[in-house]
Symmetry: C2
Subunit: 147 residues, 2 copies
């Protein structure tokens, strides 16, 4: 507790910073028992949801970076949650698969995300949540309009 890094400059930007940090820290804490680090779970969830795909597809969907993805995949592969296969149709590409072992984590990861959502929205009413989501979407569209 006990911070107000807000020296007057950009109250909303400051608030975004603080929310982002707190949210990420909470996500890290909830994912801790799964052995995953924040970010890795997004890769796995994408693979679980959309099936095997190229690294570049993961990069696009997660709005990540190719070099980040290379290392993230490498780490997931090292712990056996993912494996790579050459694409049969494009020798530049590798297809990333979620392993059987990874599916044993699925419930745990998804319940961690459910818990994250629950803690994030707190005791907000359904209609309030809708407003919050609209607000975040507004911010996102402003930010992406700024390129």
């Amino acid at each position: 507790m006990a911070e107000q890094p807000d020296f007057g400059a950009g109250p909303i930007s400051s608030a975004v910073f603080r929310v982002a940090r707190a949210h990420k820290a909470l996500a890290a804490r909830l994912l801790r028992e799964t052995g995953l680090r924040p970010g890795q779970e997004l890769v796995l969830m994408t693979l679980w949801h959309d099936g095997p795909q190229r690294q570049v597809d993961l990069v696009d969907k997660l709005d990540s970076d190719a070099s980040t993805m290379v290392r993230s995949i490498a780490r997931l592969e090292k712990v056996g949650l993912v494996h790579k296969e050459p694409s049969p149709t494009d020798r530049r590409a590798t297809i990333v698969h979620a392993t059987e072992a990874s599916f044993h984590l699925r419930d745990e990861v998804e319940s961690a995300w459910a818990e994250l959502e629950r803690l994030t929205v707190g005791s907000m009413s359904r209609s309030r949540r809708t407003e919050v989501l609209a607000t975040l979407t507004d911010l996102e569209s402003n930010l992406s309009a700024a390129e």
Copy 2:
């Protein structure tokens, strides 16, 4: 453009993630010409605003980490924006000062933050901004209540 990493899991959490990433990326871009990396400007702004202080004070105010602060200060010191002096009253502590050189950056950094704020809130009305800030504050308090 073109992402919706939202696989149904935690729409608000997903949105927080995306806003956080876009906001940080925008901050990085705006600070680029100052030579600062996102996070360093917060240290400098705190020093400019509150004056020389111990590392632990910076850590507390920015809700950062002691080891992160050590390295951040070291980098700022290497480029001459900050210098450290032993505390006269506590030999464990070092007092961090903003250098003269750093003050030449102040206008640039502060206008980058103003621009960040401007782009973040976009064309929102004053009352809408108040709502947005209230929403972010709500989220922050939920998150910090979750510890």
